[in-house]
Symmetry: C2
Subunit: 471 residues, 2 copies
């Protein structure tokens, strides 16, 4: 496949690159084999042999979003029941919903199929999922994600301690065996795909969080991940009540417990990490540790606001410590599965942190704690890909062709797509004669407007590993 048009990406934090009239060649396995200006000699040679798909003006390709943290079964009750503290909420809503899906495979399939459809429409190309306790239900989740064509990291949840007696695994060894069996089944089922394409569905070792996992279970899961090379996800230091509970029950913090059981690795994504240090502002020591271990963080700003508003995640400090960080929607602790919403909320939360810093230290000197929209776009794309350990998130030779096609405006009328208006462009387009009319290039301001008010109506297509999965 050859595709020609404007490509937009964030090669590093805070940097936005607009490549006008560029050409990508994609091989049958879904990898980018060529990426250059469309008028370069090699690009022209390629276009002589094959016809390129040409994107209209006013449209661009961007890497799809990576959602690092989403509870698939909780999609059942997305957008309801956010009135409780985290631990009460888990007991009242989360465990019940997960148990319900484990009992009802028809409901599970309905929920997971819809989830896949909605994720793809929202431009999510890769998602790291918490599932439920039961292997079969998680196989349904894997099947539904596979059929959407999304990159899915599917976690069978492990827990041998529970506030809900009916929703628990029988013992630590049973739980470890179940995690092993699920992972092996996923690998057997999805290891070979057609056309020698890499598998897009992978298992993730998923201790729910420290309070629901005995030391024996955590130890077993750490060993299993080391043996198999499987990724790991969990929650770490999410809310103050959770942190205090762990300290009281176990005498240590999450980070020490995970670390001693070999669960903080370069294959690990830890959600939240909001209360990773008890000091305020948080010392950088735990971040130094995480960086050294290669462990990534899923920042979930919306659930930060709902479950741990007494402290915003110290995002700037974590970025300065060079930790791999991406965004998570945290359905249903967060109500929106749209990563655009997560980007906007991440900027909002960081701006409020910065406002508090300025007020508290009575000065606006020093490094700003606020991130801007371009930084949030990096987190949602390349940042998330790095956290997941995938080569996606950027257009470059050797990377898989993962992309979302965004339409900003109609080049003939200048009329914006969806919620977008570009009035000055409209006036120019209307006034100009066709022949003398200079083609409108995309500007950073146009991308910013999309970031602010764009929605699904601007998304025309999504590709993962070279395959069009939406549009």
């Amino acid at each position: 496949m050859l595709i020609r048009g404007t490509f937009v990406q964030c090669p590093k934090l805070g940097e936005l690159v607009i490549l006008s009239d560029w050409l990508a060649a994609v091989d049958d396995s879904g990898y980018i084999t060529h990426f250059e200006n469309a008028e370069s000699s090699t690009s022209l040679e390629l276009q002589r042999v094959r016809t390129a798909l040409i994107l209209p003006l006013g449209t661009f390709l961007l890497p799809p979003f990576n959602d690092l943290h989403l509870h698939a079964p909780q999609f059942l009750y997305q957008g309801t029941g956010l009135d409780l503290s985290l631990l009460e909420w888990l007991h009242q809503y989360a465990f019940k919903a997960e148990e319900k899906l484990d009992r009802d495979p028809v409901l599970a399939r309905t929920v997971y199929r819809r989830l896949g459809q909605r994720l793809v429409k929202a431009g999510t190309g890769a998602v790291c999922l918490f599932g439920t306790l039961k292997g079969d239900t998680n196989m349904i989740l894997a099947e539904e994600m596979q059929s959407t064509g999304i990159r899915a990291y599917v976690g069978k949840v492990s827990m041998d301690i529970s506030s809900r007696p009916s929703y628990i695994e029988a013992s630590s060894s049973t739980a470890v065996d179940a995690a092993r069996a699920f992972g092996e089944k996923i690998e057997q089922t999805y290891s070979v795909t057609s056309q020698s394409r890499p598998s897009l569905v992978h298992p993730v070792i998923t201790p729910r969080f420290v309070p629901t996992c005995s030391d024996e279970l955590l130890h077993g899961l750490g060993a299993l991940s080391a043996e198999k090379g499987w990724r790991i996800q969990s929650h770490m230091a999410e809310s103050s009540d959770q942190v205090e509970w762990v300290r009281k029950e176990r005498g240590e913090d999450d980070i020490h417990i995970f670390k001693k059981h070999n669960l903080l690795t370069s294959r690990t994504i830890q959600a939240h990490c909001t209360f990773i240090s008890s000091s305020s502002p948080p010392s950088s020591k735990p971040f130094v540790d995480l960086h050294a271990l290669g462990t990534a963080i899923a920042h979930c700003p919306l659930s930060n606001i709902y479950f741990s508003a007494s402290r915003a995640f110290p995002l700037r400090e974590a970025l300065e410590a060079q930790i791999k960080i991406g965004l998570g929607t945290d359905i249903a602790g967060g109500y929106s599965l749209d990563v655009m919403s997560a980007m906007r909320m991440a900027v909002a939360v960081s701006r409020i942190r910065e406002g508090e810093r300025v007020r508290t230290v009575s000065s606006d000197h020093g490094k700003s704690l606020a991130i801007d929209w371009k930084e949030s776009l990096f987190l949602a794309t390349l940042g998330g890909a790095q956290a997941l350990g995938i080569d996606s998130g950027i257009f470059t030779v050797g990377a898989p062709f993962d992309a979302q096609q965004i339409r900003l405006f109609d080049p003939r009328s200048g009329i914006g797509a969806g919620a977008l208006d570009f009035f000055e462009l409209e006036m120019v387009v209307t006034k100009c004669h066709e022949e003398s009319y200079k083609k409108p290039d995309l500007t950073e301001e146009m991308i910013e407007k999309w970031w602010c008010i764009g929605d699904e109506r601007n998304r025309e297509a999504v590709w993962v590993q070279g395959v069009k999965i939406f549009g």
Copy 2:
């Protein structure tokens, strides 16, 4: 008109009422003349004589949103240029954009027409607008709002001090005369409408804010409003740099300056008021004053995050002081003109304030500073109507029939509309036989889900003063 179905409203702060199978009768002037259960004897009698429009199950009527603060000309560059402090931003972006529209009536008409269309689709039934300096441009704004059928409070901006020499009125007396001429022209143009319906377009006295208005201008505008009974809007205590500037230049705070010029009245809406007191937490004294004066506040959470993140507006304290409060989108200081976004951001900002309170006082005792989604819905509907001094915002006999029709799901399939999913409903609907199937009533949780993730796709119609203006 008779309309029968489910009506949802917030008769007071924090209270949500779902009236299933209710009947409203609306007279030719657009007022509600009957509002009762659809099976009451009077309701049945009415339905014998006339056919009611029956809303399908899964659909409800809600009062439309009231947007208390929006800069119409700044819609030109909505969603861009939010990188500066307020005073720099006004100089770099806002004044330039307004001047541009004052020079180019074709552009102004294009921008204002689109604005009206987008407001109505977003469910905004009444909007309090800042315009530009030039009377003619504001007449275009009024015409476009009139043609959408929205309730429009149109403010010709007054300013005789400016950081942009080309964008200023010649003198305080010229400015007062221009405000008078504009207001009279609006009243003459829109005082009489067809079918003896009340006018929906009104002038608003609009001193931009203290820094751009001399004492003479403020004095003249206060006298003009008193003479004519016209509403007043301005910005008050928006950002720390603005407050400090006023103190330095004028030796007083905004509130004292506005008050002495008779600009804090029961017809006044002041946007922001974030820094209304220099103490932290703010003392309630200025709020007591505002309550006594009957002056309303437009809370604009998104621009609070962008222009004054060092302090969140003390919303809970203002509500406790019984001030009239509604929400404003503050285009383009806020990037979204959707009041649903303003509701979500208002809750988010208030939750972060509450989190800070809990952390700072090391206790979770005391009144929560956080508002919940139902409180935000009150602010967006009845709260805003009260601030505007209109009888809308609630369904009751004697009130104008202003409504938005929201579709949650298809009653035949249970499939959610737009972004919404109601899986358990879907399962029930699928399993049940048509004849034994109990009609699904709307629940508070369903409304909550819409509040969290609903969007324009859920909006099927909007009425203002009994006239359907959308759908």
